[in-house]
């Protein structure tokens, strides 16, 4: 394996870390208070939601393991985005019909996307409830970035292991292009090793970002989003360390 391929893989894994981190900060997370309709967003932790939606993207990447490069990553991002939007829709259904509450934001007077006045719908004593339209859009973009980043880690690791098991030498074209007809049963070991690496990537980056968020975030307009550059730098460096260890294993 030549030096350029190694550098490209290392850069890919580090960029994936940055994408996952920004994706986590864009998700509308309500944490434990949202389960009691005390804050806007989805009622679970940030790292859990990103890992759940990212893994849906990885399943799609594994199913499309013969295709090449960019199209698989876009498909994985779309899978994560569809999962996230279904979850957000059902959350709203539960808020409206289960408890009789309309969705409302708290950090802004007017909704950033539709421009409606939302302050009048907020219950006093709470910081919003449900998932308004701008949180929905923020969540879709965040999940897309998370799925894209996960697939960006999955494809190089899987392809290097697969190509080595076929006896050839990996190069940049063979990593990001379509694969010759390989049956599913010969790809199982490589997909397994790549899945473990991707799980590690999701858990590390999403957890570092969750420490920076500290519980509740609404979207790109939230004051906590100002921490995004610092967190993205931390995830870049952490993913570089992680990518280095992964390269030690797969080479």
């Amino acid at each position: 394996m030549d030096f350029i391929t190694v550098t490209v893989i290392l850069l890919a894994i580090s960029t994936a870390g940055v994408l996952i981190s920004i994706g986590t900060m864009l998700l509308p997370i309500g944490g434990a208070p949202a389960a009691m309709f005390t804050s806007t967003g989805i009622a679970t932790g940030a790292e859990m939601m990103l890992t759940g939606s990212g893994i849906t993207g990885i399943l799609m990447s594994a199913a499309l393991f013969r295709e090449g490069g960019l199209i698989v990553m876009v498909n994985a991002g779309l899978s994560s985005a569809i999962m996230m939007s279904t979850v957000m829709l059902i959350c709203n259904l539960l808020a409206v019909y289960g408890r009789g509450i309309p969705p409302a934001l708290y950090t802004r007077e007017k909704d950033p996307v539709t421009g409606e006045n939302v302050k009048i719908y907020v219950t006093p004593g709470t910081t919003g409830h449900g998932i308004p339209t701008s949180c929905f859009i923020s969540g879709v973009i965040g999940a897309f970035l998370g799925g894209f980043g996960g697939s960006l880690t999955f494809i190089p690791v899987f392809r290097v292991l697969m190509i080595k098991s076929l006896g050839l030498t990996p190069s940049i074209e063979s990593i990001f292009s379509q694969l010759v007809e390989v049956s599913g049963s010969s790809a199982v070991s490589s997909i397994a090793a790549a899945s473990i690496a991707v799980l590690g990537m999701f858990l590390i980056n999403a957890n570092i970002t969750a420490y920076a968020i500290r519980g509740v975030i609404e979207g790109w307009w939230d004051p906590k989003f100002k921490n995004a550059p610092r967190t993205a730098l931390a995830c870049f460096l952490a993913s570089m360390v992680f990518g280095f260890i992964t390269l030690l294993f797969i080479l």
């Binding site: 979850v87 509450i101 709470t126 879709v140």
Partner: protein, 319 residues
């Protein structure tokens, strides 16, 4: 039989089976987290003795739902692969056997969580009720059994569809994930946990746990910790909770999981039939647009119908 049925028809049948199984998995997963009071609303059950409300709920604080559901499904998948690939025990016998052995792991972790958490609340005076422990554990195990059974069946079907043949037909182009079964069960369990945690838990925490507060508003922080401890007859425990929540909250969680797998596999289907992966992207964007419009309609309808928040309505509610 293999000549008369085309691979596409068989793949459609497998898709329908997978979606049905996964709806049941999501339903029971959220019901299991309600009967043990796990994850986000558990913070209220944990807070209640600190503000003076002694309760008879089961305080199962294992971790977030994705991680613990991943654990049960992964354990079931591991024991299944050990029995099936290792000792050639027929899947119809080894699937229920592995799910049954997993309930031992499940009930152990639930027991340690309840005993540990309540013992650490000594200064607030919350007792350990042995009858709560012993009456809830079989229910927790049974719900976990249903979750692992369905998720393991889905993993087995999709793994076999992508790596070998089903009824002598090769449908690996249309459906299936070529991921090894323990890892696939782990992933499906994590997805199931994150869905059940984000959707079904709001029905439990927002409605059932604070049933004495006024319907139609969020729960403000002044109510925190003062949960509903009296039931329809006697004192409330988590079995009453799952009786209520499995009718709406858990059902929506199951529906959510079924919809997600339906959309994903439908996209894969269309792309494979016509051989162009770009079709997946187009169908995906169309589905996203449809979901966005549905969300916008629900939001506008609720705001128009319910109106802004009105103070001093005069409703007090009971306790």
């Amino acid at each position: 039989m293999g000549d008369a049925v085309e691979p596409i028809m068989l793949a459609v049948g497998v898709l329908a089976l997978i979606v049905g199984l996964v709806i049941v998995a999501g339903w029971f997963e959220d019901a299991e987290s309600d009967v043990g009071s796990q994850s986000n609303p558990n913070s209220q059950v944990q807070l209640a003795p600190q503000v003076g409300t002694i309760h008879r709920f089961f305080n199962k604080a294992i971790s977030g739902e994705p991680i613990s559901n991943g654990m049960w499904c992964m354990t079931a998948g591991t024991i299944f692969v050990a029995l099936w690939l290792g000792w050639n025990i027929y899947p119809l016998i080894s699937i229920p056997l592995s799910c049954g052995l997993t309930t031992l792991f499940h009930m152990t972790l639930a027991t340690t969580a309840y005993l540990g958490r309540v013992a650490s609340q000594r200064r607030f005076g919350q007792p350990i009720y042995i009858d709560v422990l012993l009456s809830h554990l079989p229910l927790i195990g049974a719900h976990g059994f249903m979750v692992t059974l369905t998720i393991l069946a889905v993993s087995y079907i999709t793994y076999t569809a992508s790596t070998s043949t089903i009824i002598n037909l090769d449908i690996s182009r249309y459906i299936g994930y070529p991921v090894a079964i323990p890892i696939l069960a782990l992933m499906l369990g994590i997805i199931s946990g994150s869905i059940g945690s984000s959707t079904g838990d709001t029905h439990y925490g927002g409605e059932r746990l604070y049933q004495h507060t006024v319907y139609g508003e969020g729960i403000s922080t002044k109510h925190y910790g003062v949960i509903t401890v009296k039931a329809e007859l006697g004192w409330r425990n988590s079995i009453d909770t799952v009786w209520f929540c499995s009718k709406y909250g858990s059902m929506m969680a199951g529906l959510c999981y079924g919809l997600i797998l339906l959309f994903d596999n439908f996209r894969l289907f269309l792309g494979s039939i016509y051989g162009r992966t770009i079709l997946n992207v187009g169908v995906g964007v169309a589905i996203l647009l449809m979901l966005f419009l549905a969300n916008r309609w629900i939001e506008a309808w609720a705001r128009r119908r319910f109106g802004p928040y009105m103070e001093n309505t005069g409703f007090k509610g009971g306790k």
